[in-house]
Amino acid sequence: MIRSDNGFFGEFGGRFVPEILLPALTELEDLFFGLRDDPAFWQEYLTLTQEFSGRPTPLTPLRRLSKQLGGAQIWLKREDLNHSGAHKINNVLGQGLLVQRMGKQRVIAETGAGQHGLATAIMAARLGLDATIYMGAEDIERQYSNVFWMRQLGSNVVGVTTGAQTLKEALDEALRDWAASVETTHYVLGTACGPAPFPELVSYFQSVISAEIKEQAMRQMGRLPDEIVACVGGGSNAMGAFAAFLEDPEVKLVGIEAGGLSLEDGQHSIRLSQNTGETGIAQGYKTLFLQNDDGQLGDTHSIAAGLDYVGVSPILAHLSQQGRVIPDSATDAEVTAAFSLLMKTEGIIPALESAHGLAGGFKRAQQMTPEQNLVINLSGRGDKDIFTVARAFPQPEWAGFLQREADRSAAIMQQQGEL
């Protein structure tokens, strides 16, 4: 169980926000603290995830690939099989229960890859709430299919055009909206970052992932796994996959960050594993941020929009500092190779974010023995990445199709204009 010390995890965490946001954060914290130890509330949450998102998600053995790599038996925790296609829905459904208790009628969210925005749009539609989703203009271009669906679901998607136009700026903009709307609006923060109580609250709901892994491992492996590997952007899927194992020192916990193109500034999103992140206080909390000597937050890059973030969960920063979580990274090139390998060998299409976990996990599995078990959290599925993947593996027929589809869309728009 993850418990902060007054909002802090070691030196990280806290609540460094403009005064205006404080009442809403304490209201949320009071509500959450009152519910989190109530077994009836956890059961209500589990029932909701079962009825609406198909939990528990399976733990799938990769028999062919494990044999081919010649190391540990590799298993995938199938968060890609959630409704909406990623683990993000867990946290959102949980926060939906809180929104109902608070009686707020509007929600806002930031999103990078669009999976959290999509999950929020789904929850808002289901509960009849107004939703505004902030997304960097750059990320909108990268993940347009999610934007399309958010709008179809009735959410207002706002493109953020400041700075590098990615997740960091989307989060800033969501905080600005919240400063004006805090009395009627709940901010559905999507990852285990931001001001207290969000890191703790998001990890609590995501911990359903590791609770299931533990039970499934005992049943399917007959014991606990030797290693659990997860990709790390903000850190919510990693915290979800690690939470139930924090007190089991024999289970190694490995977080894979986005190595991007290179270790040069602005070409990656590695905060933990290479001493690239420095302690800072921004976006409401204290953690390891990519920043310059003047304390300006840096630019990041990853092939996966969902990992393209400048900070990291204060809980992971702390666990990494303590040596409990082992940080590592995978480059864009390693990620596309792992993506392709999983598809061709096991018939599963992973999200590019999750493929970082695959790249890191496959490498580690090869150093292990066939008696050992390694679980990779497959946090999401890759349908949303069709355009990015098509660029990584160019095919002439795809370009031709896009051209014809663009012509068809233009013709429809023109027809509508004439009517």
Binding site: E19, I20, A180, G295
Partner: protein
Amino acid sequence: MFPAQYENLQIMSHAVIGFPSLEENEKAIAGLVDAGVHLIELQVPFSDPVADGHTLVNACYEALKHGGSVQATLDLAERVCARHPEVTFVLMSYLNPLYRYGLERLFTTAAAIGIKGMIIPDWPVEEIEPWLPKLDELGLSPILMVTPNTAPERVRRIAKASRGMIYVVSRMGVTGHETHWGEKFQNYIDRIRQHTDLPLAVGFGVRTPDDLKALAGKAEVAAFCSQYIEWQRDDGSEVAASKMKSIVQTMAAN
């Protein structure tokens, strides 16, 4: 110095260091002083200014491209403090640039240069309290913010930790939009006064002579910032200063 309680309303205005350029900042500040402004915030530009609206967000991005930084702010502050001894300069920054610089080193340097106060919107009162003995020793006033939704118990705590003035955020939201100054606002001001004898600086949404007229007799200081930065952006610092001069004159005539 900071105004005394119930002194006539005066304007506090603003410079974002590096916007539109470091050279221009110094001229712009001289222009403000000439216009009759004697309280000026020197804002350290930041990549993620979450309490600011788009005017100041964009000014921050521009400023960072043109050499704005903590060090550039301190260098400029040293020059303008020496050149305009009649003006009270207040350092405005988000926490991270100052934290990276080293808080103690920053406070010591700022006080030595002649900066009189600090406004740091994401530095909560709990974190400021342990620094108060040091800040008092240096004579550097933390100007804390209260907002319309701050609970009475917390207003008391913030008032106790504040020095020089209290920054009263006029409404919910970020900088740069309109505010309405009705009875509700008066009640809010009255509520804050119950907890403090410090003068009140009202900010967020002070954009027109009408706003200033409405604030006269209610507060001691009006933070006239985003509108001034928009003038600077659209018309240049000289025109911005002359517009400020006419604002100050109108206010004095009322």
